[in-house]
Amino acid sequence: MELMLEVKSLAFSYGNGPVFENVSFSLKKGEVMCILGPNGAGKSTLIKCIAGILKPAAGSIRIQGKDTTSLGVRRVARLIGYVPQQNEVVFPFSVLDFVIMGRAPHLSMFASPGAEDMEIAKDSLAVVGLSDLAERPVSSLSGGQSQMVLIARALVQKPSLLLLDEPTSHLDFGNQILVLETVQRLASMGISIVMNTHMPDHAFLVGSRAAALTGGKLVALGEVETVVTSKMMSSVYSVNVAVREIEDMKRKVCLPLRRK
């Protein structure tokens, strides 16, 4: 299968010691990788480095074989879609106006979106199942709907790689599953996905691969089954974690346990 993303020896620092260093992994077309790790481990920072928002201190990022630093922000944005953790929209744009902003990397500097871009935006809204909300102001949406709208905006970029920063935090069970199913569907359409999550269990639901980031290093990387183990998760989160196979559901679950 085609190699989509190659991250090599990536390091980042805000100026006082590294947030993380020597992070390397790769991702094939249509693969979903879940990045796990405790709060403050640098998961969001890692995603922002890949998205080109933050400048890494060392290492390289290649997307479809091309180094992102040589591509420039605009061309990177045509290949990589970024779905932020939460968005504070100051001005309540309509959902359609908001989603169509994802066309920016495809338009020349002085251009405004036209009829074709409008169609692409509407198609993306249909993909996430929010066509009915096109005229609603984004400020009136629920948490789940906002998340879907952010995903729709990233899809409008026509990316090969989608980065999601904790897409299921703040969401109820129903919306968590809705987001995860959407992620799965996008992956089956050939989009590679890197997703931060606080729920190792979600890796069992969508991930084909997983990585654990803690103490500034990637301590585990590989198939979900090999990363999300009781031992590994317990050491990553500094609390006892149980990983069990639920026989009648034919899937594994990962649950934290209370300290005695």
């Binding site: 998205a51 990589i80 504070e88 001005f91 744009f93 500097m109």
Partner: protein
């Protein structure tokens, strides 16, 4: 429903033209409709066919006194409003005015200094324009030099630059001749379009036109900048460059407007809000609407300033006295177009 809204929007676009015509009649010197029509025909035939027109008192009042002032009000109102709307977008804050980077304080100081040193109308304009731009460059370079990033540092730099220029303006006032220069300084700072001639319009037309043109071409991208630096970057926008272009253009417009009108507050802050209530927050529609509403509002206020009392009432006073209750009323009605 949609058609109704669209036709209402079209009506709003006709507002400045209607006000322009209406304002020709406004003033202490009586001009009946027949005279205005007749003089307009003469003026047109002179403009387009070169038919020499005899210069009557009517002609002088209408086309040498009122018209330049009307055009100046339209231009200044449009410039301040478009600049204000743009600044609000890139600073992600609906409470930002065009003077956020100290441009108003800088231009005020430039004008006061010119009154103190030369007291020539042309120099006052030039110095106001130049010091407005200088204030912006100081704020930007201070923002660049500091370690922090983004708009917050820029706003703080603007405050620093603004307070220095305000202090310097006070110093100029302090040393100015209290019978001659000081009143001139005070009146200039309160804002007025009373002395505007066609020449003045010519000087400010270019910076305002250039600034407006670039902002209009970039207006859809202001939406994206209003999402914040990180998201804008992820959407492929060169944030620093785009923000700099928008700041320079908005400042060009503001400085040019202030150089002939004085520092008029409130317009650049309130008009974008009123416009958002009509067309929503999308800058593709917001910027043209701000221009239309801003020019209309300014012209209306200027008409008031030259009619409600025997003497001129400075514009800066009236924009607030008219604008504040209007804004309070709109606030009560809800729908602000921001969170």
């Amino acid at each position: 429903m949609l058609d109704c809204r669209r036709s209402r929007t079209v009506l709003v676009y006709l507002l400045p033209i209607a006000l322009l015509i209406g304002s020709l009649f406004v003033g202490r010197y009586q001009t009946p409709v027949s005279v205005v029509v007749e003089e307009s025909m003469k003026a047109f035939s002179y403009l387009f066919f070169g038919t020499p027109a005899s210069v009557s008192t009517h002609h002088t009042v209408l086309f040498n006194v009122r018209l330049p002032r009307i055009l100046a009000a339209l231009l200044v109102g449009a410039a301040l409003s478009v600049a204000g709307a743009s600044f609000q977008g890139i600073f992600r804050n609906p409470l930002v005015s065009p003077y956020i980077l100290g441009v108003g304080a800088g231009a005020g100081f430039g004008a006061c200094l010119a009154i103190l040193l030369w007291n020539s109308y042309l120099f006052i304009q030039l110095m106001a324009f130049a010091f407005g731009l200088l204030a912006m460059f100081l704020a930007i370079s201070m923002g660049k030099a500091s370690k922090g990033t983004g708009t917050l540092v820029l706003v703080l730099s603007g405050m620093i630059v603004g307070s220095v220029f305000t202090a310097l303006t006070s110093l100029v006032k302090y040393v100015a001749d209290p019978y001659d220069e000081l009143p001139a300084i005070v009146f200039w700072l309160m804002g007025s379009l009373a002395d505007v001639r066609y020449d003045d319009l010519l000087y400010i037309l270019l910076p305002i036109f250039v600034g407006a043109l670039v902002l209009f071409l970039l207006r859809w991208r202001i939406n994206i900048l209003s999402l914040g630096d990180e998201e804008a970057k992820a959407l492929g926008i060169n944030v620093e460059k785009m923000r700099l272009i928008i700041i320079v253009c908005a400042t060009l417009m503001t400085s040019a407007a202030v150089s002939i009108s004085g520092v008029i507050g409130w317009v650049g802050l309130v008009v974008p809000h009123i416009s958002r209530m009509i067309v929503g927050p999308n800058y593709s529609r917001l910027l043209p609407m701000s221009m239309v509403i801003g020019s209309s509002f300014m012209l209306l206020v200027d008409d008031l300033s030259r009619t409600i009392a025997a003497t001129e009432i400075p514009l800066g006073i009236l924009t607030s006295l008219v604008g504040a209750p209007l804004f309070a009323y709109l606030l009560r009605r809800g729908r602000m177009g921001w969170n």
